[in-house]
Symmetry: C2
Subunit: 458 residues, 2 copies
């Protein structure tokens, strides 16, 4: 038997940053660790090799007539820099005031441990639990899941025999109000590099003659939004399907106001795209964000230089019905068209992912072919959450992306029941990421009930 908090600490201490090859050892450690837990739970294991980080595939299979769920998660984490802004070291897994601090504590290591601890508890009481379970825990979620298409080529048919997925890689507004996520945004990643002179130039000797790549980059990046906050890329909004009325109503139950949200982030003002308030904009609208810009001298003091190059890292979040490749093409075409003549433009195409949308049972426009087992699962979750957390869940679209969820649907026909275990205080992708240990404990209880509710009657 493992203790969930101890297990989470051990798991967080492996620095499993998938984007940076320096962290190969941390990736190996995190993967081995969860394999060990799955073995303890009696799963049969396959470690599926990929070009970078292997996928953990594990099965608990009893009888074909039992319900069959897929539990999805990821063992990789975002980079932890800037390290200097962390109160305790990013991979120390320090416990303070009922929270566990560390990169990945919430995204996605905490929820993974919740699921496993719930399963452990349930199996200790019902060793013959009539539930087939397939675990898929990948190591490339934070870099856009590039190996999953090949994985689906090999495993898609086996996965298609399952009924649906259970996922906890989404957020809730606080530790009392759990959200069931009905949509995820898609993602488009790209990087622009502008090159001017062949070497860095002295800004006195050559300043005035050449187009400074930093100026060109600023102009290009500035052109990508309009003053009303919308993305200024022709055709960007063409295929966007707006949110349903019931979704806007459900959002009103969300325990966050514009004022409280502004206080949380400590921004002087919001800047949502036209037609959406800030709370809607992060859920119902697509975005284009600059994630990093660099060029020239960044050290102490000043350096009078015209740099030879400058870059910008850009990602877009897409909503259901937007085609990521088409959007990537449009952004690149726009950059090429607007690039000043004085510099040369290079674009690195990064990963893309489609958005995902599930309409819960008994809502307007629920697809007719939705499996009955999914409706049972939603009902079990509704009940377990209300009993563990004291409040019924809110059904809401989420702004984040889990690139593979749309692929599970497309390749294996699996819809997803997504139960959010992050809260805004968790600082996902930011310094001082943490996970609430009180929530962890209540979530273990809830997931034990959910898994029990999904299982077939003995």
């Amino acid at each position: 038997m493992f203790d969930p908090i101890t297990a989470l600490k051990e798991y967080v201490r492996f620095p499993s940053v998938s984007t940076d090859s320096k962290y190969a050892e941390g990736m190996d450690g995190a993967r081995s660790y969860i394999c060990g837990l799955l073995k303890t739970l009696g799963f049969s294991l396959e470690v599926v090799e990929t070009e970078r980080h292997p996928i953990v595939y594990a099965e608990r299979f009893g009888r074909p007539e039992w319900p069959h769920i897929v539990l999805y998660g990821h063992y990789d984490v975002q980079p932890a820099d800037p390290f200097i802004l962390w109160t305790s070291p990013a991979f120390a897994a320090e416990e303070r005031n009922g929270r566990l601090y560390g990169r990945g504590a919430a995204d996605n290591k905490g929820p993974t441990i919740v699921h496993m601890a719930a399963l452990q508890s349930l199996l200790s009481k019902r060793p013959d639990l009539p539930l087939n379970i397939t675990y898929v825990i990948e190591g490339e979620e934070e870099i856009g899941s590039p190996s999953m298409p090949a994985f689906f080529d090999r495993y898609g048919d086996r996965l298609a025999k399952a009924d649906f997925m259970l996922v906890s890689d989404t957020g809730s507004p606080n530790t009392d109000q759990i959200v069931i996520t009905t949509a995820l945004r898609g993602l488009v990643d790209l990087e622009v590099r502008l090159t001017g002179p062949k070497v860095d130039l002295h800004s006195g000797i050559h300043g005035g003659a050449v187009y400074n790549p930093l100026q060109a980059l600023s102009e290009l990046c500035a052109s990508l939004h309009l003053p009303d906050g919308s993305v200024n890329v022709p055709g960007f909004y063409d295929d966007v399907v707006p949110a349903e009325d019931w979704e806007r109503e459900e959002l009103k139950r969300y325990p966050e106001t514009e004022a409280s949200y502004r206080d949380l982030l400590d921004v002087p003002a919001f800047a949502p795209a036209r037609g959406l308030n800030p709370l809607e904009a992060v859920r119902f609208g697509p975005t284009l964000e600059l994630n990093g810009i660099g060029g020239g001298y960044q050290g102490e003091g000043s350096k009078t230089v015209i740099p030879r190059e400058a870059f910008a890292k850009i990602t877009c979040r897409l909503v259901a019905n937007q085609d990521p490749i088409a959007i990537q093409d449009k952004v690149i075409a726009t950059l090429e068209e607007r690039c000043p003549q004085g510099v040369r433009l290079n674009v690195r195409r990064g990963g893309t992912a489609e958005a995902y949308l599930v309409v819960p049972p008994n809502r307007p426009n629920t697809p007719r072919d939705q499996p009955a087992s999914l409706a049972r699962a939603f009902a079990a979750a509704d009940q377990a959450i209300e009993s563990s957390f004291g409040r019924a869940p809110i059904y809401l679209r989420e702004g984040g992306s889990i690139p593979v969820i749309a692929d599970f649907k497309k390749r294996s026909g699996l819809d997803a029941l997504m139960i959010g275990l992050f809260t805004p205080e968790d600082n996902l992708h930011a310094p001082d990421e943490s996970f609430d240990l009180g929530l962890l404990s209540r979530a273990v209880t809830a997931f034990e009930q959910i898994l029990s509710g999904i299982a077939a009657k003995d």
Copy 2:
């Protein structure tokens, strides 16, 4: 007796980066090294303490009626990063194909060694040379000479007894065509920092609601130029005095065409401000340049983050008659006025320096109070350069800045005869900076003649 090439190598090997406190030891080493050379030449030395890097003040004083010149230089250098772009290590002083490579080899260590070697040679033949010489070699030129005002408070009157200055911290088009520089641009340094949310945010969970500081920075920076290449800061050009006709004519003698200049820099197109061609723009016009921009994720791969802050390092080059403080105020006021409401703006005021202009003897609008000794010096230089290099010098404004030259004029009434020893191949402020050793040798001969010509008749 020291050998000039050996001396230059030794001098370059001290990494004297003034802007970065990590290089304190290199600063000390470089300063001690030139103090040693000056002692060898028989100078009496004072090391003038400042808040950061001491000034070397040295005198050779015979009789009051002898001509008295000031030789100015600097022992500090620009930062050498990005180190990865150097062919040999930045402070290794490696000799390849008749050039000495290293940060500071040209700016300003090579010319300093030229002056000292010429003096050494001349004194070996005429130990009683009737010439009073004051050396001022500072350690803060590359950071805007912040200690020089206090230095002038203490030494300005002593310096005022000199006739004029001799300086080699400017450029020439190639190793055969020397330029006598008639103007230097002024400098304004500042840094903008924009802050948005209190921590880096997950671009999925929060993307769409907040004003991304990188977007705000791009918009602010993009606003600082107009499509015609001019600086878009109200009042920026108010006090600019355009170049004289003779200066535009003299520039036509300059052995560089737009095409050859474009090949040299390898830019796809030029972007001079309205009304100037590229060769004029770097000499006759003021500029605003972005020297560095940074914010968000800059590592390998991607990171889906909205960063909490972003910065831009900005410098302006000013021409004669522009007031640097007034320009700094105007740029800051413009940034404040244009800063989006969604972010907070902070500006660090860096150093400023006035531009400098000397009209050579017998040109239109030469000031009537110009000292006769300066005319003699110009004539001696004219002759010595033609005899050593085979061509008469070109009289030209320079795009770079030597912040203290205007101060020497203002505080001690000294005009400057500036003889350019850098060439474009030297890669000043850039990777693979180097100094041509053939030019070094010819320049030593020329300066020996110039010093001899300035000296009183025995």
